[in-house]
C-alpha cells in the first residue's frame, strides 16, 4: 500500500498560495498511513480501490460548463451563488453578495486562517491541506444577517479527476447566515472529491448549512466539516446524500463556550452498489449546551452504509442536553448498514438520550396500507417518504426542502 501512496499523489498540483498549510500537509501526508480496514474509523469504508487508481487535478482553465447540470441547483431559491468546477472557481456563473458587513470571495483571493487539525490525524485531510484548490470564503460582520442564502456549488466533470475544495466561514457576534453546500457530478465522471469546510460561529451568531450530495458517475467523495461554536451560538446542518457512488460525510462540532445549540440531521438512501458513510462528532466541553442529532437511512439493493455518532460530554459541561437518534431500514437482503453510537459522558448533571435501530419495513403498516387497496410498491413509497420526509421537514427553506424531496422522489420513483 505504501508504494502506491506516492504514486497516488504524483499527478496532483497545488496552487501557489497558503504555503504554511501546504507544507504541513506534505509532512503529515508522508507520516500518516493510508487508512485501511484495520483502522476503526475506516473499517467499513475501505479506500484501497481509490488509492490504486491514477487521478489528476485540473487547472480549470478554458472549460465549458456541461449542459446537463444546472449551475444553480435549486432553481427557485433566491440566493447568492459561488460555483466551482473540478476545484476551480467559475466566476462567470457566480453571484456574490456585495455588502460592507460581508466578505464573500473565492478562498484563493483572500487569506484564511484555518484552525482544524484534520490533516494532522487523517491522511485524507493531509492531502487536502497539501493540494487544496479553491472554495468559499465568507465572513459576516457583527449582528449582520445575510439577506439571502449562499449556494456553494461544486461540480466534478471528467474522468479520473481529483479535486480539493476548501471552504471557510466566519460569523461575527450576532451574525446570521445560511449556506447550501451542493455537490454534483456528471455521469461520466470518476475520481475523488476531497473537501473541507471550517466554520467559526461567534457568540449569539447562527449558522445554517444544508449539504446535498447529488453526484452521478463514480466519485469517491470525502467531506469534512469542522464547526466551532462560541458561547450562546446556534448552528443547524442537514446532510442529505441524494446520490453518490461512494460518500463519506464527516462532521465535527466543537462547543467552545457555554449555552451552544447544535442541530444536525441527515438522510441517506443508497441503492445499487453505492456506499454512504456518516461519521459525526459532537463535543460538549462547556455547560448548558444542547445538541440534537437525527439521521435516518434506507439501504436498498447491495448498498453499504456506516453511521458512527460520537457524543462527548466533558467533565465541566453540566446541564448539557444531548439527543442522538439513528434509524435504519434495510430494504434488501444484499444491503448492509454498520451503525455505532458512541457516547462518552463525564459530567453527572446532564440529560443524554440516544437510540439506534436497524430494521425492516414495518409489516403491520404495510399490511394496513395494502388492505386499503394500495399496491406494495406504493405502500413502501408512502412509508419511505414519511420516514425521511420527517427529517427533511426540518429544513428552513421551502425551496431547498422541496428540491431535496423532488430529487429523492425522482430517484426512487415516488408518485
Amino acid at each position: 500500500m505504501t508504494g502506491s501512496k506516492e504514486s497516488f499523489i504524483s499527478n496532483f498540483q497545488a496552487p501557489s498560495n497558503s504555503h504554511e498549510l501546504r507544507s504541513q500537509g506534505h509532512q503529515y501526508m508522508a507520516d500518516l498511513p493510508v487508512p485501511t480496514r484495520k483502522s476503526e474509523r475506516w473499517k467499513y469504508s475501505p479506500i484501497s480501490k481509490l488509492v490504486n487508481s491514477s487521478l489528476m487535478t485540473c487547472s480549470g482553465e478554458g472549460v465549458v460548463w456541461p449542459e446537463e447540470i444546472l449551475p444553480n441547483p435549486i432553481p427557485f431559491l433566491d440566493s447568492y451563488r459561488i460555483v466551482f468546477r473540478n476545484g476551480s472557481y467559475v466566476a462567470s456563473l457566480s453571484d456574490l453578495p456585495i455588502d460592507d458587513d460581508v466578505v464573500c470571495a473565492p478562498l484563493g483571493d483572500v487569506e484564511a486562517r484555518f484552525e482544524n487539525e484534520y490533516h494532522k490525524s487523517e491522511w485524507i485531510g493531509a492531502i487536502n491541506a497539501s493540494y487544496h484548490q479553491n472554495g468559499l470564503f465568507l465572513k459576516v460582520g457583527k449582528n449582520k444577517a445575510l439577506d439571502r442564502p449562499i449556494v456553494v456549488h461544486h461540480l466534478t466533470d471528467g474522468e479520473n479527476i481529483a479535486s480539493f475544495p476548501r471552504h471557510f466561514i466566519k460569523l461575527e457576534e450576532g451574525a446570521k447566515a445560511e449556506v447550501v453546500v451542493w455537490s454534483s457530478a456528471t455521469d461520466k465522471s470518476s475520481g475523488m472529491c476531497n473537501g473541507i469546510l471550517e466554520a467559526h460561529i461567534a457568540p449569539n451568531a447562527y449558522l445554517v448549512i444544508d449539504k446535498v450530495c447529488n453526484e452521478g458517475g463514480e466519485i469517491f467523495k470525502f467531506s469534512y466539516e469542522h464547526i466551532c461554536q462560541e458561547r450562546d451560538s446556534k448552528m443547524k446542518i442537514n446532510t442529505f446524500t441524494v446520490k453518490g457512488h461512494w460518500v463519506r460525510n464527516e462532521l465535527e462540532i466543537v462547543a467552545q463556550g457555554p449555552g451552544t445549540d447544535s442541530v444536525f440531521n441527515g438522510t441517506y438512501m443508497p441503492s445499487g452498489k453505492e456506499h454512504v458513510d456518516n461519521h459525526t462528532t459532537m463535543d460538549h466541553a462547556y455547560p448548558n449546551g444542547t445538541s440534537s442529532e437525527l439521521y435516518r437511512g434506507i439501504m436498498y439493493d447491495n448498498s453499504t452504509g456506516v453511521f458512527n455518532g460520537k457524543v462527548f460530554v466533558r467533565k465541566d459541561s453540566q446541564q448539557t442536553n444531548a439527543f442522538q437518534q439513528n434509524s435504519n431500514i434495510v430494504a434488501s437482503k444484499g444491503a448492509t448498514i454498520n451503525a455505532k453510537p458512541e457516547l462518552e459522558i463525564y459530567a453527572d448533571d446532564v440529560k443524554c438520550s440516544h437510540g439506534c435501530t436497524v430494521g425492516q419495513f414495518d409489516t403491520e403498516a404495510l399490511f394496513y396500507l395494502k388492505s386499503r387497496g394500495i399496491g406494495i410498491d406504493e405502500a413502501k413509497a408512502l412509508l419511505v417518504q414519511a420516514y425521511v420526509g420527517d427529517v427533511i421537514a426540518a429544513v428552513d427553506r421551502e425551496e431547498v426542502k422541496n428540491e431535496v424531496m423532488r430529487l429523492y422522489s425522482e430517484r426512487h420513483r415516488w408518485a
Partner: protein
Amino acid sequence: MLKIKNLHAQVGDTKILNGLDLEVGPGEVHAIMGPNGSGKSTLASVLSGREDYEVTDGSVDFDGVDLLDMDASDRAREGLFLAFQYPVEIPGVSNMNFMKAAINGKRAHAGLDPIKGNDFLQKVKECASLVELDGRLRDRSVNEGFSGGEKKRNEIFQMAMLEPKLAVLDETDSGLDIDALRVVSQGVNAMRNSDRSFMVITHYQRLLDHIVPDFVHVLSEGKIVKSGGKELALELEEKGYDWI
C-alpha cells in the same frame, strides 16, 4: 357475494380454522360471535389476506373471483374492506394522502383515471360527517395519537370513502364507550344497502343492538357450530357460550 367452503387455516403449526362454511348474500349483515380463541379474528385476517396465515384447504369465492388467489391490495380493490380491531398508526403519512392513494389504487384497478381533487374533497367531507370525524383528525398522520374511539371512527370513515362490496368489521366495538359505539354504528347503518354486505365480528351482543344483523353465527374451534337469526345473539348473551 361471499362463499366460504371448508376453509382450513393455520399460523405456523397451530390450526385455527377447521373446515369453516359460510355464505353471505348481497345486502346481508352477518354477525360472527364466539368465545375467545374460536378463530373470529383469524377469519378476518385470512379473508383480508394477512400473510402470516396459511390456508391449507378450502375455497373463498368473492363475487365470482377467487379471493384466496389475490394479494391484500387486490382483494381491497375488488371491494373487500377490513375494519381493524387494532388500527395501525403510521407517522408521517397523512390521512388524506393515504385515502387518495387508496381510492386511486382502486380506480386504476377498475381502469379509471385518478379522482379529481374537488371530487375527492367533497367525498372526504361527506364521509367525515358520517362519523363526526373533524378536520383536525382528517389532516393528521394516519391514526397517530388518535384515541381508541377516534381510530375506530377513522376505520368507518375509510370504509365510507372506499365503498366496499363487503365490509368485515373485526371487533369494532372493542375499546369503545357508548357514545363512540353509537357514532360508529350510525356510520355503518348509513352504509347499509341492498348490494353491500357486512360481516360483523364481535364477542359481545351490545354492538348488535346498534347494528342489527340478519344472521348470527357462532364460531367454535374454527367452525361454525350454530346459526340463527338476531335472537340467537340475545340467547347467547343470556346463557353464555358454554350453552352451545
